[in-house]
């Protein structure tokens, strides 16, 4: 399984050196990769449908719990088949769709990257690994949405979608780490074992909310849905692949995958039901007001994602089965509709539904594909969509919350009516009616463009006619993986004349009616645009802009451009921190016997020291300040002499002399200090500095009064001669024990010397000044 994931990454890299070749007839090789992967996953069906799972474990960063753990079960298999199967169709299609595009090779590089990442998401058995792939899908989606990088709208949509999914990614990561810490494992199958522990943990609600935010942003749930319509700026194959069939379902996958770990509680079920319910209705209504084909499809996709979340929220056997069937049905018909839309756009140059009609006369196979998909989307009997719709009603009618039965069913009916109409708008409207004059010259596209949607459309019907096989091979296992119950009821076309059938048929009828009455016009678009100010899009983007303003304000407040004010803030902060720590570290006790008695010389030196310091701070002459500095240096030097540090004394003496000479030589032409600060500021600064000095003194006293171990010093003392043949221990440490450090120190000195030399030699021309 690692190979299936890595192959995508590998081929993605290959598009860099062989990009030029791909633009020629070699591009025929491209669809072979997803096709082979698809074939591989097809061969796994017998194993999985008999109830087994496939595991793989390869150590990666074991100490952090991040390993290549892969698991293939029903749920993963369904997604893998979708990713590679629809992927194959998309690759075939995009090869012709983008023929001659400037970034042809780049496009397929991103597409391979996405395929690999998405396979990684659904195959990972380790949640941290899952997160890595999850982010990779966001990144590849960003590149694909912004693929037409010369278009400002396109770039903006790419950034919006990346921000939203990236934000969700942060929450997801936090949620996953919480879960991992609670259960002390990052492996999904072990997390399922720890379900009781997780459910009873006090952080359980936090983990659920974080995880849900991650899933909702990815799957475009209300109120994060608005990035998906924006993402339609991507080339149509991308919209078909990422933004309807696979990537946006990653959130659904995540919810389904975590249902056995987190599910079954009121919090989980209600959150999913409420958010899913709002999303599905909101988006279904919105889709009726669009006139852009891709806009209609985007909103109906959001609506379907809402339905799936809603079904997972109901969480019964029927609901989960419905979700898995509907997922497959939707992927098939929606990908078809997108591909058909792409063909229409490609051939006629417009996606405006109010202009398009009668195209069935000139592109008959495309019309068949579109109509089949529309029928499936509407849930007409004998299509796979019908099975899905049936199961949805079955689920809402058999919900455990009996009181809400009709509320939920009503929601589902309203949503489905919208979806029926939206499906017809996208799949029927462009092909029937009178062919306008301007499209008379439109012809059928390349064969490789209309074959994939036709195949997908026909598959929808085949599955619809023989639902039992699909159910047995795939969806029963999926449902079992989600709720850990055997699913016994096989999928059937006809359940007998009951409530469900009546609901299905009446939905269809009402939906058709809505379609016929709903005439696309720009007036409706204007009507809905009036509510834009209230839409979550405006609110969230507005929040983002306000945040920007706040941070700009905060920056200008703290970042005023004066070095001394930065110093002041840093020092005040350090003082507060140190004082707090000092306050809490207990009292200071000094053993007076430990003190060494100061001699007369020492006291004299200390007095000179203090005097020099006082002069230095108060003087207005620069030269005096420099001289005081050197006096302080010499006093330090004397202290080193008194207290057994001859090497230090010599170094300090040399360095101090050199510094003073340099100061005087280089800076003697500078003006004298001018007192620029007011008295008030001087007092303030004096208070701050005295406070700092006091705190440091107290810390020094505190540390000094604590006992210290001298093991290392003794080691050096004992081994200086025995190991390094030197008697001056300080020198031995510097040039032998820590020789490499000293070498680098020399390097630093050389660099400084070079800097000094070049600065002195630098002669700027007058024009270069400033």
């Amino acid at each position: 399984m690692l190979l299936t994931v890595l192959s995508g990454l590998f081929f993605s890299c290959l598009t860099i050196p062989f990009g030029k070749m791909l633009k020629t007839k070699w591009s025929i090789l491209l669809p072979i990769v997803p096709l082979l992967l698809f074939a591989f996953f097809l061969t796994q069906i017998p194993l999985i449908s008999s109830g087994n799972s496939l595991y793989q474990h390869i150590n990666w960063i074991s100490s952090l719990g991040v390993n290549f753990d892969f698991k293939l079960d029903g749920l993963s298999l369904l997604f893998s088949l979708l990713i590679t199967g629809i992927g194959t169709a998309i690759f075939v299609y995009a090869r012709s769709y983008l023929k001659g595009h400037r970034y042809y090779d780049r496009f397929f590089g991103y597409l391979f990257l996405f395929m690999a990442a998405m396979l990684g998401v659904v195959l990972s058995n380790n949640i941290l690994l899952l997160f890595i792939f999850w982010e990779l899908t966001s990144i590849s989606s960003f590149f694909l949405i912004g693929f037409n990088n010369d278009n400002a709208e396109s770039r903006k949509s790419a950034i919006t979608s990346f921000c939203i999914t990236g934000l969700g990614g942060f929450f997801l990561l936090a949620g996953l780490i919480l879960l991992g810490n609670i259960a002390d494992t990052f492996v999904i199958s072990e997390l399922i074992q720890a379900k009781d522990l997780i459910l009873n943990h006090q952080l359980y609600p936090v983990a659920v909310i974080f995880l849900c935010i991650g899933a909702f942003t990815k799957s475009a749930q209300f109120p994060f849905h608005f990035w998906l319509p924006g993402a339609m700026k991507a080339p149509t194959p991308v919209s078909a692949y990422l933004h309807s069939a696979t990537m946006v379902k990653a959130g659904i996958y995540l919810l389904a995958r975590f249902t056995p770990i987190l599910g079954g509680t009121p919090l989980w079920n209600n959150t999913l039901m409420i958010v899913g319910g709002i999303t599905m209705l909101y988006a279904a209504i919105h889709s009726l007001f669009r006139i852009d084909l891709k806009g209609i499809l985007a909103y109906s996709t959001i609506s379907v994602l809402g339905v799936l979340t809603f079904l997972l929220g109901i969480g019964t056997k029927e609901a989960v089965t419905a979700a898995s069937v509907f997922l497959l049905a939707h992927a098939l018909y929606k990908a078809t509709l997108f591909l058909v839309t792409g063909i229409i756009d490609h051939e006629t140059g417009t996606r405006d539904i109010s202009l398009l009609s009668g195209l069935g006369k000139v592109m008959f196979p495309v019309a068949i594909a579109g109509s089949l998909a529309a029928l499936s989307s509407a849930g007409v009997p004998l299509t796979f969509g019908f099975i899905g719709k049936d199961l949805i009603y079955e689920a809402t009618l058999h919900t455990p919350q009996i009181n809400f039965k009709w509320v939920l069913t009503g929601l589902a009916i309203a949503t489905n009516v919208g979806l029926v109409a939206a499906g017809f708008m996208a799949g029927f409207k462009p092909f029937f009616g009178k062919l306008p004059q301007q499209f008379a010259g439109v012809h059928l596209p390349y064969t490789s463009m209309w074959i994939p949607p036709l195949v997908l459309g026909v598959l929808g019907v085949i599955f619809g006619c023989a639902p039992g096989i699909t159910g047995h091979l795939l969806t029963e296992q999926v449902a079992k993986n989600i709720i850990h119950h055997e699913i016994t009821a096989p999928l059937k076309i006809y359940h007998g004349f009951n409530q469900v059938l009546i609901l299905s048929l009446s939905t269809l009828a009402v939906g058709t009616l809505v379609y016929l009455m709903n005439k696309a016009s720009s007036r409706k678009l204007a009507f809905i645009a009036r509510f834009k100010a209230l839409s979550p899009e405006q609110i969230i983007i507005g929040c983002g802009e306000d945040l920007l303003k706040i941070s700009a304000w905060a920056t200008s407040l703290s970042h005023n451009g004066y070095l001394r004010s930065y110093h002041l803030k840093i020092i005040l902060f350090a003082e507060a921190l140190l004082a707090y720590k000092l306050w809490h570290s207990g009292s200071i006790s000094i053993d007076l016997n430990m003190l060494t008695q100061p001699g007369l010389y020492e006291i004299a030196v200390a007095l000179v020291f203090v005097g020099a310091l006082g002069i230095m701070v108060s003087t207005s002459s620069r030269l005096t300040a420099v001289v005081s500095m050197s006096i302080i240096g010499y006093c330090t030097c004397l202290i080193f002499v008194f207290y057994s540090a001859p090497d230090l004394a010599m170094t300090q003496f040399t360095i101090d002399t050199l510094s003073t000479v340099l100061f005087v030589l280089v800076l003697y032409r500078l003006p004298s200090f001018i007192n620029l600060a007011s008295r008030k500021i001087l007092y303030r600064d004096a208070a701050v500095s005295i406070g700092f000095g006091l705190i440091l003194s107290l810390i020094a006293l505190k540390v000094w009064s604590e006992p210290i171990t001298k093991d290392i010093s003794h080691f050096y003392g004992e081994n200086a001669y025995l190991l390094a043949k030197g008697k001056n221990v300080v020198n031995v440490i510097l040039v032998d024990f820590r020789g490499i450090d000293t070498m680098f120190e020399t390097v630093v000195l050389s660099i400084a010397a070079l800097g000094v030399y070049s600065l002195i030699r630098l002669r700027l021309k007058p024009t270069e000044k400033e």
Binding site: R564, L613, Y643, L648, L670, S689
Partner: protein
Amino acid sequence: MELILIILLGMLYAAGVYLILRRSMVKLLLGIMLLGGGTNILIFLLGGIVKGKPPVIAEEAKLFQDVFADPIPQALILTAIVISFALTAFAIVLLKRVYALVNSDDLDDLNTPEEEDI
């Protein structure tokens, strides 16, 4: 003597901080040097001060016969002094150049005009 050193280092820090809060570039540099000096004394003090027992092994011996001053703080301080000299030297020359360019010792004159536009 330890207490005197503690007071001295506190004063060094205080004076250093006071100087880096000023507007003059030369004072800024002197302040940084004072802070460095204060830190040196701090490290020196914490190693424990011993009078008249430098960490040098006697001529005829192979090991220390007596208590000796801690060599590690000394090694650290030696390094620090040298490095701070590199800093000082570079900063002095830099100051000189800045003065040649903007004809001022005032840090506030260094704010570039571009920044004010924002």
